[in-house]
Every structure is written in structure tokens, then in C-alpha cells.
Amino acid sequence: MNQVDPLLHRKLQEVGNLVSHLGEQVRQVSGQVAGVDTRQQQAQTELQQLRADFLAYVQQAGRASVVQRAETRIGVIKDDLDHEFGHHKTVRRTAVGMLQAFDTGLVTEETVRGVSEELMIQTPRYWLAPALVALASWAADDPTLCSRAVDEAFRRSPAHTSLLFTLVLRRQGRQEAAHRWLRHYLLVQDPAALGREFAVILEALAQGAFGPAGRELLATTLDQWQRTLLDDTAARDRQVALWRAEIDSLAAPTARADHPRLAQLSPQWPQLDAILGKARAQQALLDRYRAVTEREPGPSTRLEDAVDDILDQLVGAYDTDELPLRRDLELQHAVVAHDGDMDAARRAYDARAAAFEQTLDYLTVQSASALAPETIGTSPATRRLAVAACREWLDEAQGGFTRDYRAALPPAVEARFDSTHSVAGTMFHLPPWTGSFSDGLPAMEHSLDAHWEQHAKSFLDSLAYPLRRHLLILGASVLAVLLVVGQISWPVALVAAGLLALVRGLLLQQQHTKAQALHRSARQALHQAKRDSLQQLRAAGAELTDWYESYRAADAVDADCRAFITSLSAAAPGGSPFEGRVVDRPAPAAPAAPAPAGLGKDSHR
């Protein structure tokens, strides 16, 4: 019996040690698994960050390459233009030079004639070359040649030729003949398919270059065209769409940097950001077009200079043949301007593409003069008048734009929390929580707090050390020892049970203390995480208030915009710097001979 007792006691001791050792190992493995899990989460986060960085890099590299290609293409197109149409430039420069030579009388008739004939040979098919021959022969008092040259120029480009002689004769004080050319030009025009040179007419109107009679004729004709074209709803809608595209392009960039918490927490942030950007377009619109209309056009000191500027535009405007290359050039410029963003470049190009069509309707000429004067070749003075003439479309486009972003305002802005935290070597996942700011911040805070408390409590409970269960097991083990060993010897049973209780009890106490410490640290970590969440929520609430203030301020500019657009109706008529001015100087000195009858349009026909 005495031999059995120590043996049994030793075996029990060994079993107890093994159980304890196993428990220790399980805990170690559990800790290692939690550690691996945490590291895996970290690795995943870093991998995601790396992926995002990589994608951003790829996008940036792609854009840089697109910009580089566009810049190269710009060079190639310019070379092509120079190669294909460079000789037109010489003729254009000569035309204005010749008129100035007439003014000053510094060049002999032979030189003028020689140059014009040389250009006639060098630039076949270009309308301006025979027009120069006509001018030179006019100066040389050779009506036969002049008439033939006018015929040829008119055959090559009736519209350009008519306009050129309208302006030249106007410049030389031949009002009757100029008026006849102008009337004839207008009569043969189709307001739905005007040539690109028509922008010059608007320019001349803005500069008052045709004198009172010409202005009257133009005003009547243009009013009639506008009325005819506006009967077509589709034409009107096209103009409104052009202006809408212009306003859309003024939307401000993202305001994410000003509202980082709101952007992070609110599922409605993309809508809010887009709406604020659009509301801020109101100020941009106002600034841009107020600057256009308030800008005092610097009138030339002499009316001749103004007419020369218009002539520059007429002869300098690129030909229809050049349009494909010009269109491509404009697109490549847009790509460079938008830093390689092809979509944005395409949108910007599309908004201006109308100006590169071979023929334009009168309404589009007006819109293009107001929206993109550089593409159609008009001056700020013309732009000013064109903006005023387009006020109805601008009004409609601005009204629709404002309505659309106001209607897109989300009825309720929400905050959403859905986070994972590493707590005491274990991952704690907070289930998704969503609250609406329209409930008020205190109610949201209360709800989020309750959500945290509820899920943190169940998590902490799962971490709690099961002391009670262990004590019950220990009690059962002691009882079993007493019952089994007690049948053999009570004193031995008591000693064995006492030893078991003591050893196991000490172990339990140690484990319990450790678990309590772990529990405390987990509770503190979760408490801190909850406080951070609440702080983020408050910050997002404050940022939402800021957002609403910014939005209201930006949206309030709508009233100023509307007042500005209404004020344009007063600016429409008579905005010309040369209103009512006419050339009343004596006949120029250079062409000593009177103008041949051949330059009068009627006789030409």
C-alpha cells in the first residue's frame, strides 16, 4: 500500500504537470497565431498601400507619357502647317503691308505691282493673291486688270473677297461701294451655314467699322437671322448645351483637404464634394464674364488701325484647308493643358470643337465668339458684345446648372464606422455603424457610444479568464482524489488532495492575474478607440457644418450671377468703342487715281 501511494502520487503529479504544460503550450500557440494574424493584417494594409501607390505612379507615368507625345505632336503639326500653308503667311503680311504703303505713300507702284504679281504666281488657289493684284492695279489705275483680278479672287472665295473689299473700301472712305459689297455679302449668306470668316463681321460690328449705314444694315440682318434660327428649338438647345458645358468646366476642384474627416466617414462625401465644386462654379462664372464685360477695350487711336486689325483677322484667319491640322493642334494643346488627362482634354476640346467646323450657324458664331474668341479669331470687344447677345442661353444654362446641383443635395448626410483594431494581440472588428447627422450630433454620439459599448463588452467578455470553471474542475479533481485515494488511505488522500489543490490553485491564481492584466489593457485600448471614434465623429460633424456654410456661401452667388446675366441685356446694344464713328478723312494719298469702277461690287457682278 505504501508503495502504491507514492507511485500514484507521482503519476498524478506527472499528469497534472503534463496538463499544465499542455495548457501553457496552447496559450503560447494561441498568442503566436494572434501575432501572425496581426502581422498578416499589417502586411495586407501595407500591400494595399503599395498597390495604391503603384497605381498612382502608373497613372502619373501614363499621363507624363501622354503629355510628352502631345508636345511632340504639337511640334510636328506646326511644322506641317508651316510647310503646307506657310506661303499663305507671306501673302497675308503683304496685304496689310500694301494697305499701309498706300497710306504713307512710301512705296512705288511698280514695287507693289511686282510683289503682288510674284505672290500670285507663288500661291496658287489662295484667294488673297489675286485680291492683292486687284489692289495693286487699283493703285496703278488699271481698271481692266483690276476687274479681272477681282473676278479671280471672287471665284476663289466670294465671301472672303467681298469682306476684304468691304473693309478696304471702307478704310479708303468709299462708303457707297463698301456698303454695296457688304449688302451683297450678307444677301448670299445662309445663317445656318456661315463661313468661318463671319466672325470678322461681328468684329467689325463691335468696332463700328462699317459706319452708321453699315451698322444699320448689319443690325437688321442679324436680328432677322437670330429670330429665324431661334424658331428651331434644337438650335436653341445646342447653344444652351454649349454654355452648360462652359459652366460645367468651371466646377472647383475637390475640397477633400478641407474636410478630411467627413470625406473619410461619410458615404455621401463624393456627392457633397461634387456639389460644392459646382456651387463654387457660380463665383468662377461671375468673375470670368464680369471681367469680359467690364473690361474696357482699348480702342485704337485711329479708326484705320482698327480696320487694319480687322483686316489682319480676315486675311490671317486660317483657311478651311488648314482645319484638320488646326483641330488636331487644338486637341494636343488641350492634352498638355490638362496634364495628360485625356478625358478632361477631350471634354475641353469638345466644348470648343464647334469653332473648328467648316461652316457654322450664326448662333454658334455668337457663342464661339463669347466662349472661345481665340478659336474663331475675335477680339475682347466682340466677345463682350457676344456675351451680351448670348445672355438668354447663358441664363438658361446657369439656371439648369444651379437646379441640378441643388436637386442632387443628399437629403441626409450619414457617418459610417466600420473598423478593425488590434487589441491585446487579438483583432477586434467593430461591426458597421451608420448614423445620420440630421438626428443631431448628441444623438449620434450616444448611438455610436452604445454601439461601441455593446460590441466591446462582448469582446472583453470573451477575453475574461474562466476562473469559476477552473475552480469547479479543481474542486471536482480534489473530490475525485479524495474518493479514489480515500478508499485506500484517508491521510494519503488528504495529503494528495491538498497538494493538488495547492499546486493547481497557485497556477490558477497566476493565470488569473495575467488574464486580468490583459483584460485591463484590452479595455483601455477599446476605450481609447471609442474615444477616437467619437472625436472623429465630432470632427466630421464640425466639418459638415463648415461644408454647409461653404455651400450656402457659394450657392448664394447664384443671385449675383442672375443679376449679372440680367444686366447683360442693358449692355447688348451700343457697346462698340467706335459707336457711330466713321472714316471721314480725305481720300488717301497713295492711290492717286480714283478707285476704278471695277471695285464696286455691282459692276463686278
Partner: protein, 160 residues
Amino acid sequence: MAHTERSRRIVAPGPARAPGRVQGTPGRVVGPATGRPLAVGAGLFRNRSAALLGTVARLDQAVDEEAARRFAESVAGAYAEEFGAVPLGLVARCLLGPPYVDHILNLSGVIVRHFAPHTAMPEPFDRARMLARSDGYLYVEVFSDGLTVPVRPDGTVVRP
């Protein structure tokens, strides 16, 4: 934030009909113009007259059923006369403030119903809801084909 939280009202005015004829069920937004062919033409986008705006502005004075009926009839009559088309209803800011239950009226198909921010608006009025909350518009007309026409305080309208 505040301007998105104002309570709203939907007014469904009826055209001049036989008084006392019940068109809808209490609590539902109905429009007597439903099913009526809508003549939406360019004329519909003319400016709203000061008289019409004044009539619409008197909604808050319609504190009893008789007043609401008269109100709706005058609005519908004004629309029919001026534009030849009567909207299904109007959505506007509610200036009464809480509690607004006192102003739910139902007579001859005329319903004035007030909405809290969280209460969903029935179609097609829901599309006009955020527009009506903007200070830029006096009210929004909603037509039976879903067309929404915001009316500015000066009587001008925003074309669709």
C-alpha cells in the same frame, strides 16, 4: 445643415370641380390633374404672375378645410387660365414649423400634407424635395409626367 431639415409640404390643388367631391384618401398625396393630358409647351415656361405667386403664398392661411379648398381651387384656376396646364402639385418650404400635424387638410381631393425630414415623400414629388428646400426657389411645380419646374421668387422658372 439646417436648411435640409426643414419640414416640407405638398399641396395638391384641384382644378375647379364640384365642391364636396372627394378625390382622394386622407393621408395620400393626390392630384386632381392626374391622368389629364398635360399640355406642356413653351408657354408653360413663361414667368409666373405676381397674382399667382401671391395666391400660392397664402397657403399658410388655409387653416381649415374650406380655406384649403378655396386655396386649391384658386391656384388650379390660375394655372389653367394662365398656362393651360395644372400641376399635379406644388412642393414648397413649410414655414409653419413643428408641430405641423395641425395643417394636414383633405377636402375634395385637396390634401395639404407636411413632411418631417425623415418622412419619405411619394413619387413624383420626391424629385422636387431638395429643390424646394433651396432658398433660391419659392416653390416647385410637379406635373403628372414627372416634370419639375422650380419657380424663383421673382416668378421666373427654370426650364427643364
